[in-house]
């Protein structure tokens, strides 16, 4: 079914399309430049030029490696929620909160009605797409995650907050499609947070994607996926992107019992480990996946965004995925 959607959109992809979840590591010069901007040592235009340089680098590298569906690498974003909150009226920047280990993010605070006024990601998507003939995914954060990863001082409850976010995200999806984007990823890593809230999370995604001409992906990771499966298959998207490298043992039996009805972007390398998996490991993981999942439904990618890896680690992890995909296609 989803292959038909791709065909309708004139997208021809090989078996086991290789993609990424979204973020890539920022080169040192960009990390330094972001700090310099904070201190007033450089201008926003100077930072933008460096972000463009880094984005172009990642587009070039993905092409070189043979990735099939590209991402812009989010060199201009800090965090997946704060990035949107910084420009959407109704949000206020929050202080630093730890997400795990030594990683922190600025958790935004909703202090008023959140409104979409103008495109947020379209310029960067266009910048990336102009540099490659391969499709570049538009990358957004989903309504449930925007709600769950923000503090709320305005809306009466979590459902009202989530549905308000859906209106905002839909407008951004429409803007991406108008610009020519055909594959839109709407990340919902938070979706398994509270199982009892899944119905309104599904309702929100429905409001975001219904009737729009694109191939939709959602990324879900590091949560109690088992608790929302198979109900989560009702998400109004074509492809669900999952961290599978450490979880296949318990998730594949679930998919055996209740068939996975959508395409799957199947995470085959650990995004949070310095170790670069060898190709044999990735091949083994793919072979395990294919004992349960039909091959025409399987895409391959890392478990999550690679921004916490070094540039070399990120390239190494993508390389082994591409090599494993090529080997599998050759069989």
């Amino acid at each position: 079914m989803s292959r038909e959607r791709l065909k309708e959109l004139c997208l021809e992809l090989p078996l086991f399309p290789v993609t990424s979840v979204g973020s890539f590591p920022k080169p040192d010069y960009l990390t330094q430049a972001r700090a310099d901007l904070q201190k007033g040592k450089i201008t926003a235009a100077e930072l933008r030029a460096l972000e463009e340089k880094a984005t172009a680098f990642w587009i070039e590298k993905q092409e070189e490696l043979g990735v099939d569906v590209l991402v812009d690498g989010e060199q201009y974003r800090g965090d997946m929620v704060a990035y949107f909150a910084e420009v959407l009226p109704g949000f206020q920047e929050g202080g630093l909160v730890r997400s795990y280990g030594n990683r922190y993010y600025r958790k935004p605070i909703i202090v008023g009605a959140v409104k979409w006024e103008k495109p947020i990601t379209v310029d960067w998507w266009r910048f990336a797409q102009e540099r490659t003939d391969r499709p570049v995914k538009g990358m957004l954060t989903g309504p449930y995650t925007l709600m769950d990863w923000s503090f709320n001082e305005h809306y009466p409850d979590r459902k009202a907050t989530c549905l308000a976010m859906a209106q905002v995200v839909r407008k951004e999806v429409e803007a991406l499609i108008e610009a020519g984007c055909k594959i839109v990823q709407i990340d919902e890593p938070a979706i398994s947070t509270r199982v009892e809230e899944l119905p309104f999370a599904l309702e929100a995604m429905q409001q975001v994607t219904t009737g729009l001409p694109a191939y939709f992906v959602t990324h879900i990771c590091y949560g109690a996926f088992e608790h929302v499966y198979p109900k989560v298959l009702e998400l109004a998207v074509n492809n669900i992107d999952l961290d599978m490298s450490a979880t296949a043992g318990r998730r594949l039996p679930l998919m055996q019992k209740d068939p996975f009805t959508k395409d799957i972007s199947y995470g085959v390398v650990d995004s949070h480990s310095h170790l670069i998996e060898d190709v044999e490991t990735v091949k083994t993981r793919l072979a395990q996946a294919l004992t349960v999942l039909p091959k025409e439904k399987v895409w391959l990618d890392p478990d999550c965004g690679l921004k916490t890896r070094t540039v070399e680690e990120a390239l190494g992890k993508l390389r082994v995925i591409v090599e494993a995909a090529k080997a599998a296609r050759a069989q």
Binding site: G95, Y104, S192, Y222
Partner: protein, 329 residues
């Protein structure tokens, strides 16, 4: 009724100033092999001292070390035990925080009371106020562990193994002078059928608490369905999260409490500040129904889920609430 103000566990290990970002910088440098483990320890110590100071200045009577040295509530202790390996990231309850999952690969062997004692002694020697050690309980540890060691596939066996590993820690902390030791068991609110297993684990653990009071804290869920059974547990203080069910306070007022309570009436998960007068009114009504001479007012959970300025504001709010109660000091 004496009402003591306390922190429920963690406290932000970062803030907006360079001094408060020392730990993040040092950890990152250590990851790049540009700093030593000793430098990391010193950075942790500096942030523990900052947490202790802010809690004391906010007016708390009983403070914690902010669990600043804890990578997360699960792997920090579990990772010190033989038989356990630490693995991938998983979401911690319904928070935006991720922990590293322990994998039970073999028989769990205790760290003989040496896993947490140094943290307590450091905090105690740097605190103007009494320090409350906070430990994650055996059920919550077990429920977050992936089991590969066959004998632990029975949940109770794994809970018992963790409890046996925690027992010498409790003993050591009590011996070192901790007057109140907090044991966190949020998992019981998710899996209420685990109650008999938790009860048996606690029956074993309380034998090791010495003269310390053992506070069992449950949060990240509505305690109402279990409230009457929680009262039967062999602990000295019961810590409750009031933020998931707006009607729970009325239930406690209706049923009363046979045990002193640690009252999580201030939301440790959202920045919105509660109205101190409204909370004080509820608190007064609850305290009338509690047996004992001391209760505790604290946030609903550790404060690491908030930015530092908001965490501090929540602590100051505790003092404002107490000031508006009817004479509870």
């Amino acid at each position: 009724m004496k009402l003591l103000l306390t922190n429920a566990g963690s406290y932000p290990r970062i803030g907006e100033t360079p001094e408060l970002q020392l730990l993040r910088r040092t950890q990152a440098a250590l990851d790049r092999k540009e700093a030593t483990p000793e430098a990391l320890q010193a950075a942790e110590g500096a942030l523990v001292k900052a947490a202790l100071k802010e809690q004391a200045e906010a007016g708390l009577d009983l403070v914690t070390d902010g669990q600043v040295r804890w990578g997360d509530p699960i792997s920090h202790f579990a990772g010190k035990l033989a038989g356990i390996e630490i693995s991938a990231l998983l979401r911690y309850f319904d928070t935006n925080f991720y922990f590293r999952q322990p994998v039970a690969k073999g028989e769990i062997k205790a760290a003989n009371g040496r896993a947490l004692l140094a943290e307590y002694e450091f905090a105690k020697s740097n605190s103007a106020k009494p320090v409350k050690p906070v430990l994650t309980g055996p059920l919550t540890l077990a429920r977050h562990t992936l089991v590969e060691h066959e004998p632990y596939k029975q949940l109770e066996a794994l809970v018992r193994a963790y409890a046996q590993a925690l027992a010498p820690e409790l003993e050591a902390l009590a011996h070192a002078g901790a007057e109140v030791i907090q044991l966190d068991e949020p998992a019981i609110l998710r899996q209420q059928t685990d109650f008999p297993i938790l009860q048996r684990a606690l029956q074993m653990l309380v034998k090791h608490k010495g003269k310390a009071k053992l506070a069992l804290c449950v949060y990240f869920g509505d305690p109402q369905p279990l409230y009457e059974r929680l009262q039967q547990l062999p602990v000295d203080i019961l810590g409750l999260d009031f933020t998931y069910n707006p009607k729970f306070a009325e239930r406690v007022i209706s049923l009363g409490s046979q045990k002193p309570l640690a009252l999580g009436l201030v939301d440790g998960r959202n920045t919105r500040l509660e109205d101190p007068a409204a909370v004080a009114h509820t608190l007064d009504r609850i305290l009338l129904r509690v047996k004992g001479d001391t209760c505790y007012l604290n946030p609903s959970c550790g404060l690491e889920y908030l930015p530092r300025d908001r965490a501090l504001a929540k602590l100051k709010l505790l003092a404002q609430i107490r000031a508006q109660t009817k004479g509870h000091k």
